[in-house]
């Protein structure tokens, strides 16, 4: 953590947030339009719930460690 600028935890939150959005989006697209070549256990739609989990954690970290906000 850095006391005089942007916290490392904000960068981590940003990374999880962006990845969560992209992965969830890809998962929802696969729900709408299932691919021909599917991974094993495709029926569990891991990219939807795992992406949503990353998105949620990312949002929490971005808010909690937003620049200018005291940690």
């Amino acid at each position: 953590m850095h006391e005089h600028g942007i916290s490392i935890w904000f960068f981590i939150g940003l990374s999880l947030l962006v990845n969560g959005i992209l992965i969830t989006g890809a998962g929802i697209w696969e729900l709408i339009s299932p691919p021909a070549n599917r991974v094993v256990l495709f029926q569990y739609h891991a990219n939807v719930w795992w992406g949503a989990f990353l998105l949620l954690v990312g949002v929490l970290y971005c808010v909690r460690f937003a620049p200018g906000r005291h940690a």
Binding site: I8, F11, N19, I23
Partner: protein, 567 residues
């Protein structure tokens, strides 16, 4: 144009979708952005090489672990668990946890109170310039080799998974690391290592989750491994009574004394690559807590490394082989088990994150090596032997250029490593050359006041040379294995462990004998460097739940329970 196309049309395990490519590109952009953001905070040598010594215990602890979570951890140990079964977990538990706790509680006070910039720097204070020079030169040599191993492993993954040209991968990743470490110094390396640690978990944790769903849980997984391979693959200790009863060909004495007592203590307490992260902590308590936090997470890493290898044994439809056999048959090697498992479960998006996790692991290991190399070169070789009295800005500038040079040397090393069939055994051999004797020297220096400058130097030199000598002896005459590793059936890993044990013991003996033959230093000279001559700050006023000792006991208890569960 033809060459550029050839980079992307080779055989590949998976095809990245556009969203995967965006995730990988975003990762590269973010680590570079962190490097540029931190450039303005790396103006003094204390900032550039020691991250201003202002890291919290959590940041230092995660960075401490992440610097080690490189190619060896992700691909190498997943491969080892496929090849040797659950025995590979020893490198995460008995091969790490006791040593990390020892570093936190016993050794950290001396590293921190002495205000050293590096492990060779501590040797200078304790044993004089000659010990520092020997340690610094051997460390610098080992570090660039390690960095090259990281690069080669990453390029191999990119070739297998994405079909990328191996040279393209090496240069893209190495230049990225060179930029963000040269710009922001150790602080940039540490920040990115923490980010990489989180991404590694985010990208790799899904493999064991999905794998256990497919196999139907741990009990069913063990049954399938027993059916596909052997019951010996799922026991941690019960098969170690004989060299012939387990896939690794090792005896429990090798695991306990070679790995648990020497190699792991040598690596986790004296390898500057990891110790440097803890030296950047903001105070002594944070410095002691950091390895304990690292140990807690280290115990969990087998979930994302060992478990995928075991799952590969159970569910993969193809049988993986050694590198040479895989090349000859056109099949897959042990080293490809993690990418194969990734491709098995991860669709668009998740695949990009998984590939990012692998790249992050490789880059954190590479950055760790490069930043440690830069510090040792600048402080312990350049400033100590070449230019003692330059202004502070000159050493910062030297650090930036050495970062770039270190990366270039590592690239050259990566091409050298391509000639070796087994990445893992090569790295283990390097550990036993330099790390095991170094542990003997440092721990005697910290715990035994009577150890003298001459004793420290000759002990370190004798241990290192004996290790190289034993390695060369077995190479020239393979029957020598019965003497070095106590068994003609011992495999490479077992040989490495016993070699480390003997070299460390020889270091101890030579240090003690020479010390008794030479004049000791006074207590006043050893203040801050050794037990019995140093006032260690007490923590009586700190609540028990904030004391490093309390959390070390918690971690040690969990460690014992896990070993019993998987006995």
């Amino acid at each position: 144009m033809t060459t550029a196309l050839a980079v992307f049309v080779a055989d590949r395990l998976v095809h990245l979708s556009p969203v995967d490519v965006v995730i990988v590109v975003f990762y590269f952009a973010l680590v570079l952005a962190i490097g540029f953001y931190l450039k303005g905070q790396a103006n003094t040598s204390e900032d550039f090489f020691m991250a201003g010594r202002e890291m919290t215990a959590w940041v230092a602890g995660l960075s401490f672990l992440s610097a080690n979570l490189g190619a060896l951890e992700l691909m190498g140990w997943a491969a080892a668990s496929y090849q040797y079964g659950i025995l590979a977990t020893h490198w995460y538990w008995i091969g790490a946890i006791p040593a990390m706790l020892f570093l936190a509680l016993v050794m950290m006070p001396f590293y921190y109170i002495s205000r050293t910039h590096s492990v060779p720097g501590y040797l200078k204070l304790r044993f004089g310039e000659s010990s520092r020079t020997l340690s610094a030169v051997s460390f610098a040599f080992m570090t660039v080799l390690m960095s090259g191993i990281n690069m080669y492993s990453m390029a191999l993954v990119m070739k297998v998974v994405l079909g990328w040209d191996i040279h393209f991968s090496i240069w893209v990743s190495s230049l990225t690391v060179a930029i963000y470490v040269a710009l922001g110094g150790l602080r940039s390396a540490i920040f990115n290592e923490v980010l990489q640690f989180i991404l590694i978990w985010a990208g790799a944790a899904l493999i064991p989750i999905m794998g256990l769903i497919e196999t139907g849980g741990w009990s069913n997984l063990k049954a399938q491994i027993t059916h596909n391979a052997s019951n010996e693959y799922v026991h941690l200790w019960s098969t170690l009574g004989s060299f012939n009863n387990n896939p690794m060909g090792i005896h429990w004495t090798g695991i306990v004394f070679g790995l648990g007592a020497i190699i792991s203590f040598g690596y986790w307490t004296t390898d500057f690559l990891v110790v440097q992260r803890v030296l950047a902590a903001k105070d002594l308590r944070a410095a002691k807590m950091a390895p304990i936090i690292g140990a807690a997470f280290k115990m969990m890493v087998p979930i994302i490394v060992i478990l995928p290898g075991l799952l590969g044994l159970a569910v993969l439809p193809v049988k993986l082989t050694g590198e040479t056999a895989a090349v000859a048959s056109g099949g897959h090697s042990y080293n490809e088990v993690l990418p194969l498992m990734l491709a098995r479960y991860c669709g668009p998006g998740l695949l990009g994150l998984g590939v990012t996790a692998l790249i992050a692991g490789f880059m954190s290991g590479m950055a760790g090596n490069v930043s440690a190399f830069t510090t040792v070169w600048t402080y312990d070789i350049y400033r100590a032997l070449i230019n003692k009295d330059a202004p502070d800005s000159h050493y910062v500038s030297m650090g930036r250029w050495t970062t770039v040079l270190g990366v270039l040397i590592s690239v050259g090393t990566a091409y050298l490593v391509m000639q070796f069939a087994s990445i893992m055994d090569y790295v283990q051999a390097l550990f036993s050359f330099f790390i095991a004797p170094l542990f003997g020297t440092v721990v005697l220096g910290m715990l035994w006041k009577r150890a003298t400058n001459a004793g420290g130097f000759w002990g370190l030199l004798a241990g290192t040379l004996s290790s190289i000598g034993m390695w060369a002896w077995v190479k020239v005459d393979p029957t020598a294995l019965r003497y070095v590793a106590l068994s003609p059936n011992a495999r490479d890993m077992a040989e490495n462990m016993y070699r480390a044990l003997w070299s460390c013991l020889l270091c101890f003996v030579v240090t003690i004998v020479v010390s008794y033959m030479t004049k000791p230093r006074s207590d006043s000279e050893l203040n801050g460097l050794v037990y019995g001559a140093t006032a260690i700050p007490h923590e009586a006023e700190v609540p028990i739940y904030q004391r490093p000792l309390f959390w070390a006991v918690v971690v040690a208890t969990v460690f014992v329970i896990l070993n019993i569960i998987f006995w």
